[in-house]
Symmetry: C2
């Protein structure tokens, strides 16, 4: 078990919300992955949407839930002609954990009308070793790497060998280990399933996500996605991530930014 569909399964509640059982596999130690939590919120919002596809999701990470039972509520702000806009909240007991604003619309698989980007150049997937669940130094367990197959470009994963490049760039391949192809909701996992960019900058310490915003640009083709994570600036107790995701047909399918707290020693 631990498949994406199971791990995000919702049970309607009498009060209009949903029960969800946060799966321990979709976590780093006992902290559920932020993208996984956003996917759960998106799935709940989608049940209320008049439009089929998640196109935008901004989340504020208030406090981490634990794996186990949680409740999701969603509310339509406006169901318009072209889009449905909603808000959603995940809580555990009386603690709000993640709050989100979501937009659903109608995506397609057409080629871009214009593109200012090209997919990140990566070695073939078989030349990128699969990341293990034991984190650098063996200090913690990244359980999500059992259910998300992460294969980093060795030229950007020097931090695993104690040799960060200092460029602020980590890239690689991702696919769901259960064999499911990516879709707009599961892409929320993809935008948050790469190593923290601080690893490549020798920025030590824990960098919890404060806010994350993702846009889904089109329906992804079958197959693994390529992801590039870059950093713009580190300072004033903050580190950002800029994430771009391309599908097997070389099209941008998602982009995201996140701002994280940085606790320098």
């Amino acid at each position: 078990m631990g498949d994406f569909a199971d791990a995000t399964e919702l049970s309607p509640r009498a009060d209009g919300g949903f029960d969800v059982d946060l799966h321990p596999k979709w976590a780093l130690e006992d902290k559920p992955n932020g993208g996984y939590l956003l996917a759960v919120l998106a799935r709940a919002a989608g049940t209320l949407s008049s439009h089929p596809h998640l196109t935008a999701l901004s989340g504020s990470f208030v406090q981490s839930p634990k794996p186990g039972p949680a409740v999701v509520t969603a509310e339509v702000l406006r169901a318009g002609r072209g889009a449905t806009q909603l808000r959603a909240r995940l809580s555990q007991g009386d603690r709000p954990c993640v709050e989100a604003l979501a937009t659903f619309g109608q995506l397609d698989e057409a080629e871009p009308w214009w593109s200012g980007t090209v997919p990140v150049a990566l070695p073939p997937i078989e030349d990128c070793p699969r990341s293990g669940v034991v984190g650098p130094g063996g200090a913690f367990r990244i359980h999500i790497l059992d259910v998300v197959e992460q294969r980093l470009d060795p030229s950007t994963s020097g931090f695993l060998r104690g040799e960060p490049t200092g460029r602020g760039l980590i890239a690689g391949w991702l696919r769901l280990a259960d064999g499911t192809d990516w879709d707009p909701v599961s892409l929320m996992v993809a935008v948050d399933a790469m190593p923290p960019i601080g690893y490549d900058l020798s920025a030590p310490g824990w960098t919890p996500t404060v806010q994350l915003s993702a846009y889904v640009r089109r329906l992804p083709a079958a197959g693994p996605v390529r992801i590039r994570v870059t950093c713009t600036d580190v300072g004033a107790g903050q580190i950002d991530h800029a994430v771009h995701v391309w599908d097997s047909k070389d099209r941008l399918v998602a982009q995201a930014t996140q701002i994280c707290a940085l606790r320098l020693p």
Copy 2:
């Protein structure tokens, strides 16, 4: 009148919310600027925050209010040690107009610990002509350009002369016309006060903002800011903006992305 402080002034209501009078100057025709609305929401959220500086704000633009009276409500999600996280809503009558998630923390003016970016290269401010309030073709009035001094780099403003570059890049200088220096709240105006990037791509039509997320990276030094707006991808009815803002000391002070609906003819 029309100064930023006046245009974002809040009057507490008995129900815990705030009355605000949306000023007609901070608008394109009769549509208040999205960044201005976010600044109003940030100011309301700030009154409830245990921390002094806006650091992150994600807004969902549900429907445009008109200039005139509106109501803002804000709610603390969590007041932690390092940050206060809130949500806020601007409504007019019974219509929710903008919903936002905000984070406040403690910024500083120190140099970045690490930076992966350099300020956009611009001609001196006096060599960048001030943009007028009459939009391309004389078809509409960009009133906000009376209260925000926008000076575009001529090499990126060919669209004004019917010669878009097709690169997806617009850059220039911005300052508040009332002489006030930028601060974290007014930077919300800065990240949304440049021309739509579609102008440089010959993407015709109205591109209303659906969601916008901004991060304030440090306290801006006095003086005008330099702004670069780029586009990543156009398609599936969507066009994105990526915005970076540097202060007079060459430091990144804000970054933002927005996703807009694109109505191709």
